[in-house]
């Protein structure tokens, strides 16, 4: 029954995609985030549905979509450049077989992120993309939230339907992403048009935000706690009633503490005692190893180059002494060091340019369309939501190796799409008014 429902859902989406080609793009987004092939035991798990949706989205765009005045933003070029760098490091990887396996799905995710903005020609398409991203992620987040309330979860214990730690089903990854998308969810409570924001939409959105906050608790991912803190600060800075917001946040935080599982509070307490915590000490050791590795491998070692590390750490034993601990083949535990170790200085530079460029462009758009009474208030608000989401991601990425996470690159694709859409509208408006002034292009 469960399998039949998922098959029927996907089939319906494909059929509707023939009538509205953009729905095929949404089908690809859904498949990439939810991985229905991992949730079923029949048909979907044996078909390459991701490839079918990807080819369908590209084919329908080539055949049926309007490509007049299609704009390519510099950040799309940077993403393609990053694909080239990844191809080079894969060809010269320290672990060629493993690197090739990672490359096989990473290049598709990056290529889709570069392609996505070309399809975002209307405001409704931008909204639709974000709606499908949020609802797809919600499939994992609501499951995690409900199970956290009922069982308390625990590090590596929360069952998110799929247990192989792939994509958003990995605890630390979903913790960072769940907190990052909260501003986007809240945007729908003001500017959604597919589901106009009535009491039902608001109730669902607030409940989903609550489930998002529960995810770091359920997975006991310490990164998630930092992300919640940053999101709180960013929302406080932008709030009109700062004192009220701060009071409510403190009250909510204090009220929540007694309900937190013991396993969670114990694990969060280890944030303060990193030198006695083997997990945190291992991170520092991996990062130091990566800096050394980059000196001899400035072009990077390809995907999964961390597998060659051998670490020795001094751990505080809690009784005033220290002990030596050894470890090997430990993962990067940071997107920044991941890029440096895998793609070298050039890859890190390009990746930073893509991410920081996004923050900057969203700031430009936020300021340009900041008037809450203006017709493009939705755009200013969305730019702020996407910028906040990006900042939260960049903090979470400091402690989790999610540099090339496809969901985040879709968010970046949405940013670029918003940017090029507004540039196109401004150009159209200038043309309508007969202005000689050259329209402001999308810059990054």
């Amino acid at each position: 029954m469960h399998d039949l429902f998922l098959i029927a859902f996907l089939f319906t989406l494909f059929v509707l995609g023939l009538a509205r080609p953009f729905l095929m793009v949404c089908a690809y987004v859904y498949i990439d985030v939810v991985s229905p092939q991992q949730l079923t035991y029949w048909l979907l798990n044996s078909l390459s549905i991701s490839m079918i949706a990807g080819a369908g989205a590209l084919g329908l765009w080539l055949i049926a979509d309007d490509k007049k005045d299609a704009r390519v933003a510099p950040r799309q070029v940077l993403i393609v450049l990053l694909i080239g760098i990844c191809a080079y490091t894969t060809a010269h990887a320290d672990f060629p077989v493993e690197a090739k396996e990672t490359w096989d799905y990473i290049w598709k995710a990056l290529m889709f992120a570069a392609f996505l903005p070309l399809t975002l020609r209307t405001k409704l398409r931008i909204e639709t993309l974000l709606l499908f991203m949020v609802l797809s992620a919600a499939t994992i987040i609501i499951v995690g939230g409900l199970k956290t309330v009922l069982s308390g979860g625990g590090y590596g214990e929360l069952n998110l339907m799929v247990t192989n730690n792939s994509g958003l089903y990995e605890g630390s990854t979903i913790s960072a992403v769940a907190i990052a998308i909260i501003p986007v969810i809240l945007w729908f409570t003001r500017y959604g048009t597919i589901f106009p924001p009535d009491w039902r939409v608001k109730a669902f959105a607030y409940a989903l935000c609550f489930a998002c906050v529960l995810i770091p608790i359920g997975t006991s991912a310490r990164t998630g706690l930092l992300c919640i803190g940053l999101l709180g600060v960013l929302m406080w800075i932008r709030s009109r009633h700062k004192l009220l917001f701060a009071g409510m946040a403190v009250a909510l935080g204090l009220a929540a503490v007694p309900f937190l599982p013991t396993a969670y509070t114990e694990r969060m307490n280890t944030i303060k005692t990193y030198d006695a915590d083997e997990s945190a000490s291992t991170r520092l050791a991996v990062w130091a190893w990566t800096l050394d590795y980059a000196k001899t491998h400035p072009m990077g070692g390809g995907f999964l180059a961390f597998k060659q590390n051998k670490l020795r750490m001094l751990i505080n034993d809690g009784a005033g002494g220290t002990r030596i601990s050894t470890d090997e083949a430990r993962a990067w535990h940071s997107a920044y060091f991941q890029m440096l170790g895998e793609q070298g200085y050039l890859g890190l530079l390009v990746w930073l340019a893509i991410n920081l460029g996004g923050l900057w462009r969203m700031e430009v758009l936020r300021r340009r369309y900041r008037d809450p009474e203006g017709a493009n208030a939705w755009a200013g608000s969305l730019a702020l939501a996407l910028q906040t989401a990006h900042l939260v991601y960049l903090l979470g990425a400091a402690f989790v190796g999610i540099a090339l996470q496809p969901f985040v690159f879709m968010l970046i694709g949405a940013q670029i799409g918003l940017d090029t859409y507004l540039a196109r509208k401004a150009a159209e408006q200038a043309g309508n008014l007969g202005l000689a002034r050259k329209p402001r292009p999308a810059l990054a």
């Binding site: 469960h2 989406l13 209307t122 499939t139 308390g152 408006q429």
Partner: protein
């Protein structure tokens, strides 16, 4: 409550969540069929654009 104390409920939670989110996506897709502005928009509204340019 221990994680295993959920009993048979995990499957029910999984199925209900899938039903909810996938149902919403289907409704969204259905509504989009009736929205011509998904593929083509009318002329931009002057007031907002002008204000945006002035702010820039």
């Amino acid at each position: 409550m221990a994680p295993d104390a959920l009993g048979a409920r995990p499957l029910m939670i999984d199925n209900l969540t899938i039903l909810l989110t996938h149902g919403l996506m289907l409704i969204a897709a259905w509504r989009l069929l009736k929205r011509p502005d998904l593929d083509r928009e009318g002329p931009p509204i002057r007031r907002g654009i002008d204000r945006g340019r002035r702010d820039a």
